[in-house]
Assembly symmetry: C2
Homo-oligomer: 418 residues x 2
């Protein structure tokens, strides 16, 4: 009997457990025994495995639930880790390694594959795609994105109707790291120019605070309200993270915005009191799980309306946070189906002779009725790279999407509330 390890890396999605089900069910059909590594490569190194089958917990019980049911990790394996992993793999007679995750996980899979080759350990490694950020190169779109986009679209529809009820300025900060795909989904329920969000900001289009405020106040003047979506990865004109950008800090150093800068400076002392802001092994800093960007933007807008219009506008800001990837009450049926499909495909490729290892990628044919299909590419082609929102999906002013984006994304979310 052949044995496989399946593992998960990076942030979970609404449908990552469907990919797990796909791998485990397809493996069972092919007579492959599967061990799940708890918390990805970190679990491998601790020899923390659980045997999994399609009909038992956690595969069967969590198939339709969010979260990484076998645990995830942000650990990046080095050569020493790999040597240790291969000893453990040898002991368990492991011939296949399936790693479900995003760019970092693709990179980790690539490292493990390369080290296995150089160590002469016979292992076929497969990366199974997953990320709400939708930023894996070579993929038309990524499993997990459709459900997150659905959440964001339904959220902005509701939030815009809420802002019309009690008019004011509302900002929503949306996940996506350094790519604007998820923020772009804020547009998907817009039916007219009246509808919010009237403004969407992307990491791909750096903005100054002055430019941002001018946009927001213009929409407010025109409609008596403004609904704004902002990617958490928004940059200042110097292309660094908005609230830590020197350019933005310089804008905040001038009246009437100085109180905001003071707040940011005071917050830095909190970081110092906890050992300082940390980057993970893949080099990423934390962007989610804090309301800082939303609160800075809300304060700036409030101050700007007060100083320019004589009265502070009703101004609110929400940071959508982790629910974008884990809200249990809703899922894109297309996304769920495709997540399972890429899991199955990985096993099929593993059974095939042609490819030693690789990254399963999701392609789509939109020439007729939308159809998605999987292909296999080299691990190095995907790992560690970021696919940004392309120019033809962003409007000329860099503060909204094009109809081409809407047509693309609407195929991925399933039917929306409007």
């Amino acid at each position: 009997m052949k044995r496989a390890i399946v593992a998960m890396g990076g942030g979970p999605t609404r449908v990552i457990n469907r990919s797990l089900f796909g791998v485990v069910d397809e493996a069972a059909k092919n007579g492959i025994e599967v061990l799940a590594a708890r918390h990805g490569i970190a679990g491998v190194l601790k020899e923390h495995f659980i045997p999994v089958t399609p009909g038992t917990a956690p595969v069967a019980t969590h198939k339709d639930l969010p979260g990484a049911s076998i645990g995830s990790t942000r650990h990046k394996p080095n050569a020493d880790d790999c040597r240790k992993a291969f000893e453990i793999f040898k002991k368990h007679e492991v011939s296949y390694f399936f790693y479900i995750g995003g760019n970092d996980t693709a990179e980790a899979t690539s490292i493990i594959n390369r080290e296995a080759k150089s160590a002469g350990y016979e292992l076929r490694c497969f990366h199974v795609p997953k990320t709400i950020d939708n930023d894996l190169v070579e993929n038309d779109h990524c499993p997990g994105y459709g459900s997150a986009a659905r959440y964001v679209a339904n959220a902005l529809l509701g939030d815009d109707l809420d802002v019309r009820s009690l008019p004011g300025i509302k900002m929503n900060v949306i996940m996506g790291r350094n790519a604007g795909w998820l923020a772009a989904a804020a547009s998907l329920c817009r039916a007219s120019e009246e509808d919010g969000p009237q403004l969407i900001y992307f990491p791909e289009r750096p903005k100054s605070l002055a430019h941002f405020l001018a946009d927001v106040l213009a929409v407010y003047a025109k409609h008596g309200r403004a609904e704004v979506a902002v990617s958490e990865g928004l940059c200042g004109p110097d292309k660094s993270d908005f609230i830590s950008s020197n350019f933005i800090r310089a804008e905040l150093a001038k009246p009437p915005f100085t109180p905001i800068l003071r707040t940011l400076e005071a917050q830095a002392a909190i970081e110092d009191a906890t050992g300082g802001a940390k980057k993970d092994l893949f080099g990423h800093t934390q962007l989610s799980g804090t309301g800082a960007l939303a609160d800075v933007l809300a304060a700036a807008v409030k101050i700007a309306t007060y100083t320019q219009l004589g009265k502070a506008a009703r101004c609110r800001a929400d940071t959508f946070g982790y629910l974008q990837r884990c809200y249990a009450g809703d899922v894109s049926p297309v996304d769920a189906k495709e997540a399972e499909m890429v899991g199955r495909k990985a096993v099929k490729y593993a059974m095939g002779k042609r490819h030693a290892s690789g990254s399963v990628v999701l392609r789509a044919d939109r020439s007729g009725k939308y159809r998605a299909f999987a292909e296999l590419v080299a691990l190095e082609a995907v790992g560690g790279k970021v696919r940004l929102l392309p120019d033809d999906f962003i409007n000329e002013k860099g503060n909204g999407v094009t109809p081409a984006f809407v047509a693309y994304a609407r195929t991925l979310t399933g039917p929306l509330a409007r």
Copy 2:
């Protein structure tokens, strides 16, 4: 032909438009012509009316969407406003006034009713209940709560699964003003003691920062992770709003928490730069639309783990924000049905002879199969009062719910994701 005004007040809910539909459809059946006042009593004073029928926009088009489709207001009418309103009502031959809203709206309806009597203007005034806070006295529960509770329950289920994936400490700040009903709904998908949220904090049970941190660190020590739900209305031991409480400020004034106090002090300057923190006419300060409470709790937990355990825990905090009342992708079917029912009932009471005016209240019979029904009580019995979470729904430690609460709330949400 008799004529009625329908209006909405306060924060919208997921199902407030179903109550509008109920009023308008039932009125049509009874030959009553209905004008909708845009933005509640504020629209009445501007004579801003739109004729509404069950089959046309916005009643038909927004029936199943969130937001107050005819606009809402937080304006509290005074005697002058009422005099002006009655002149306008006279001109339009208005005999009935239906006002859909929460405690403040019930109070506004009561004021209008009293002033109409003293002015000798023949008007029958009906308050139709609505609030995600679930805090209207005389009601078993309030339309809008079931859907918001459903959102919070499905959110915490997903978020707990997310935290198990990448273990750490996660806090979620939940709406509800000064009542803990919505925070309590965080418990509804818990199946075992292992499941999060292991801790829930209510306005009804004031806490010190030290007490809060001791709870969180104990759960973290036991489970290696902690999922925490906190009501936005949480109080310090002096029973005032948590982050502005003098008791909490005194705790933050001591090392290692002083950087947090500095941040709060710096933020106060932002308020000053926008004309100062304002209260609305009903005397409420803004609790939602800022990440302040979540960020303070996250910073405190991070600092506490760093100083007590030698390493800052992975610690995140989300403020759920407005999506709790307006997320378009999900709704409680029970809630939607009951929201329509109370709207219809208001019209039926208006057609009846027995009561001049009143507040429609929602009762429930749980002796057999759950059954909800409406009754009419005096406007003064509901207006401006707050129904807190009762003692038998809160556990002994004041950091979780009882099985009695779960049994109660599960009847209101419809089937959840688990």
